[in-house]
């Protein structure tokens, strides 16, 4: 799945996910390459889907972090295999569920030579959590009760309530230099004032919004980074990225556009790696808006959605049709597989593609003669548009007249999230920011959250979500989540359509290790490595 802009901002918490890596579907192209060991001057040229308007720490999230975290290291990093690795923090202590104590590594310096201090960490926290901040991470920081320097190299964070997602939040927070930010108010991250960090790579140049060149930080405190330089480029759209790869000047394309995978893999000298993404395309119906406040209408629509056709048309089949808005594997990771599989199968009953059943439901609804509705889709994600057109054709058969409106992301957000001025029917893609299974669920069922397009929630669900936060037992967590999804499924506020794949196409002389849906949250030089 691909939507370059804005990237997965609606990302949430996580857990580990080695189980998630269903497999490397990498096309085992000719293994003729002798695969010489990485030499010192190896550069990595990467195509990523999008660039932020600025490399300011507050403006980077999602894919952007892949570059950001190479410059500004977090205190604790997420390793490609899903484990957490202390980096700028030497150690982490968790005295209780809502308190974290980080001990900073000593002797670390920024690339300008100045030493890393607790002031820098405090400054970074403040950057993201101060009142009125523009930071994408503000909401994740909202649960902080206090952040204090409790010793020379010690930071203590107290949360208002336990937050299973906190480690992921910390792993996404690259530490910036307080002095540097003070010196350049409001302009850090621009071409003239590039970011300054302690990470394995440092900025060589930023050129006009579409290129970022990093070079190795030779004074890096840790192991010598693999590549001499890593260059990122974000062509204007999927098509341009395909063309770019064809030009042969790049080593890899990450988050490759799925509808173009066949074209991409036909380019000689490149291999495909494809894994399921923790993301869901769904059709959501705003239960507060007529006629979608009528469950019969929602059931009718659920039966009218040809999910197979949508997967085929929108993603050329690169994904899996799903009965739930969270990939089953994520829940299975918490415990037994059987209950999850049974539940998901039962969810499918209301989702069968059956136009006759749909017509029957509609005939029995408050709008037996059908109605007209506008579906908003994001211009940046062509898959949504294709799905909406298929939806329109199916719904036309039962008398619902769908007009598809393609709008830019800003309009999409403002009309559906802020103003709620849509007609109530949305084709929508929703991605997890982390492998925490409750991440997507909480967003989908919390009133006022962007993920809750349906404006659907029940007291029971809210209660279950709350209980999940302090529940430490995985099996119990699994049960809580399954209960939530069952409750929701009964009301059909949404039609889960499919989970897309996430793909990388990489040159022959490189190999992909531990590629996951969250590749961007880990060091890319540890995911894409020279063939041994």
């Amino acid at each position: 799945m691909s939507h370059p802009n804005p990237p997965r901002r609606w990302a949430r918490r996580a857990l580990i996910a080695s189980t998630l890596v269903v497999g490397l579907v990498g096309l085992s192209a000719c293994a003729t390459d002798p695969g010489g060991a990485a030499s010192d001057d190896r550069e990595l040229d990467l195509l990523i889907p999008a660039f932020p308007a600025s490399w300011d720490a507050r403006a980077t999230s999602g894919f952007y972090l892949t570059a950001q975290l190479l410059i500004n290291e977090p205190m604790v990093a997420l390793a490609p295999d899903g484990s957490f690795v202390p980096t700028l923090a030497e150690s982490v202590d968790q005295p209780d569920l809502s308190t974290y104590v980080y001990t900073l590594r000593e002797g670390v310096t920024f690339t300008d030579g100045s030493p890393l201090t607790v002031e820098d960490v405090l400054y970074t926290f403040d950057l993201h959590s101060a009142e009125g901040t523009t930071s994408f991470m503000a909401r994740y920081m909202a649960g902080i009760e206090s952040v204090e320097a409790t010793a020379d190299h010690e930071i203590t964070v107290k949360l208002a309530a336990p937050d299973p997602e906190w480690p992921y939040t910390i792993a996404r927070m690259g530490i910036v230099s307080a002095a540097y930010y003070d010196e350049h108010p409001e302009s850090v991250g621009t071409p003239d004032v590039p970011q300054l960090g302690t990470g394995p790579y440092t900025v060589e140049s930023i050129s006009a919004g579409s290129k970022l060149d990093l070079e190795r930080n030779d004074d890096y405190w840790g192991a010598k980074p693999e590549y001499d330089a890593i260059n990122f480029e974000a062509p204007a759209d999927d098509n341009a990225r395909l063309l770019a790869l064809q030009s042969g000047e790049y080593d890899a394309i990450l988050q490759a556009p799925l509808s173009q995978l066949s074209s991409l893999t036909s380019i000689p000298g490149y291999n495909l790696t494809e894994v399921p993404e923790v993301a869901t395309y769904r059709i959501s119906m705003d239960v507060t808006k007529a006629p979608f406040d009528d469950p019969a209408v929602r059931r009718a629509i659920a039966h009218a959605v040809d999910r197979e056709a949508m997967l085929e048309a929108a993603l050329s089949g690169h994904g899996t049709v799903s009965n739930g808005i969270v990939p089953a594997e994520l829940l299975i990771g918490l415990g037994e597989a059987q209950p999850v599989e049974d539940a998901y199968e039962s969810f499918g009953d209301s989702l069968t593609y059956d136009v006759d059943a749909a017509a029957e439901e509609l005939a029995a609804s408050s709008v037996p003669d059908g109605f007209a509705v506008e579906v908003l889709v994001q211009q940046s994600d062509p898959a949504q548009t294709l799905m909406a057109q298929i939806l329109a054709q199916s719904l036309a058969e039962i008398g619902i007249d769908v007009s598809v409106s393609q709008v830019d992301d800003n309009t999409f957000l403002s009309r559906l999230y802020l103003d709620k001025t849509g007609d109530g029917l949305v084709v929508f893609s929703f991605n997890a920011g982390s492998a925490e299974p409750a991440n997507m669920a909480r967003s989908a069922f919390t009133a006022g959250d962007f993920g809750n397009m349906e404006q659907f929630t029940t007291p029971a669900i809210t209660e279950a979500l709350q209980a999940y936060k302090s529940e430490e037992d995985d099996a119990a967590r699994q049960a809580l989540l399954l209960q939530i999804f069952a409750d929701a499924n009964a009301e059909v506020p949404y039609v889960p359509v499919f989970h897309p794949s996430v793909a990388a196409v990489v040159a022959d002389d490189l190999e992909v290790k531990d590629f996951t849906s969250f590749w961007w949250a880990s060091r890319i030089d540890e995911i894409i490595v020279p063939t041994a």
Binding site: A53, R139, L243, D409, L418
Partner: protein, 348 residues
């Protein structure tokens, strides 16, 4: 044929030059100054109207820069705080006044999303991509275009002329995006002669990356240049002055440079000015197709993120560019044509 136009026009109003009141005779510098001043004054109004209209539309549009800044995870309070920080909730008139007073002082404000002064952002995009692209496209089209127009005009009616004519109709009509896709597909992808994506690493590499985009624009402009210059050349050739110059035994080079080119110049200058103006929209499309980080791409991005200062700044700078081009065109015409210097109406 009726009596010569000049005569009938004179007898129409019964006026000859000698009857002008002597004091009414203005100096030519005065006329030129007046022309420039009037032009600048009108331009100021134009700029005012343009920016205001764009300003209104951007404000009426759904969404705002705060969404681009803080994303979907932002809380309503956070969004409100951002709006307040950028004065987005102030009365429109006040906001516009702030913008225009800043602009009059040369300050276009800072881009909200890019956190840099608008001037910096725009001039970077302009100098690294857009201006070289315009210059390259202009040179690739006007010079060969006028040459082709010359050939075509000299051999009018011949096979060469007809081939050139037919080809130019095709070139001048094909939409720039169709040409762009064709050129990038054939010369970039299939033949692999030149890069077709991005602006390269600066310097010569950037120039290399600009060749195909420039060719794309030039295809359209070249056709138009050929047609316009051909028509104008033939017009001059059919004028009495050309025959008279020929009848005096003047050389071919004199005929072409001093008579044809010189008399066509005002027309060609005016035309090539309007061409550059008409090219602006085409530039946006070409920059999109070739993934060039120029002003067009910047504008599209700014629109997407509702970066109001940036949108305002870009449109204002484009409008200023248009005004400047028009001014340069006027001055060049004044320089070439003494009749304009003397305040006479001349058909361009």
């Amino acid at each position: 044929m009726s009596a010569p136009a000049a005569i009938s026009a004179a007898s129409e109003t019964g006026v000859v030059a000698s009857q002008r009141r002597p004091k009414a005779r203005r100096s030519s510098t005065g006329i030129v100054l007046r022309l420039i001043l009037t032009r600048l004054l009108t331009s100021l109004i134009v700029l005012f109207v343009v920016t205001f209209v764009i300003f209104l539309f951007v404000h009426a549009a759904p969404g705002g820069p705060e969404l681009a800044l803080a994303g979907v995870d932002a809380t309503p309070e956070q969004l409100a705080a951002i709006r307040a920080a950028y004065h987005l909730d102030d009365p429109l008139v006040l906001q516009y006044f702030r913008f225009i007073s800043g602009a009059l002082g040369g300050d276009l404000g800072a881009s909200i999303t890019m956190r840099e002064p608008v001037i910096t952002v725009v001039s970077r995009a302009a100098t690294s991509v857009t201006l070289p692209l315009i210059v390259m496209a202009w040179m690739l089209s006007v010079i060969p275009g006028v040459t082709l127009g010359y050939l075509s005009a000299r051999k009018r009616g011949s096979i060469t002329d007809r081939v050139i004519l037919t080809a130019t109709i095709l070139g001048a009509t094909a939409p720039v995006f169709a040409v762009g896709m064709f050129v990038s597909y054939v010369f970039g992808i299939q033949l692999g002669w030149l890069p077709f994506l991005g602006a390269g690493d600066g310097g010569l590499d950037t120039l290399r990356h600009l060749v195909l985009p420039a060719v794309t624009i030039a295809v359209v402009l070249l056709a138009s240049a050929t047609r316009v210059s051909r028509v104008r050349f033939i017009q001059v050739i059919e004028e009495d002055q050309y025959t008279f110059a020929r009848a005096r035994g003047l050389s071919r080079s004199y005929l072409w440079t001093r008579v044809v080119l010189k008399n066509a110049a005002v027309h060609l200058i005016t035309w090539s000015g309007s061409l550059v103006i008409g090219l602006i929209a085409g530039l946006i499309i070409v920059e999109q197709i070739y993934g060039l980080p120029g002003i067009g791409t910047l504008l599209i991005k700014a629109i997407g993120s509702r970066d109001i200062p940036l949108i305002q700044g870009i449109t204002l700078l484009i409008a200023i560019g248009v005004v400047l081009i028009n001014l340069v065109v006027d001055l060049l015409c004044i320089w070439v044509d003494p009749r304009i210097r003397k305040g006479m109406e001349v058909e361009r």
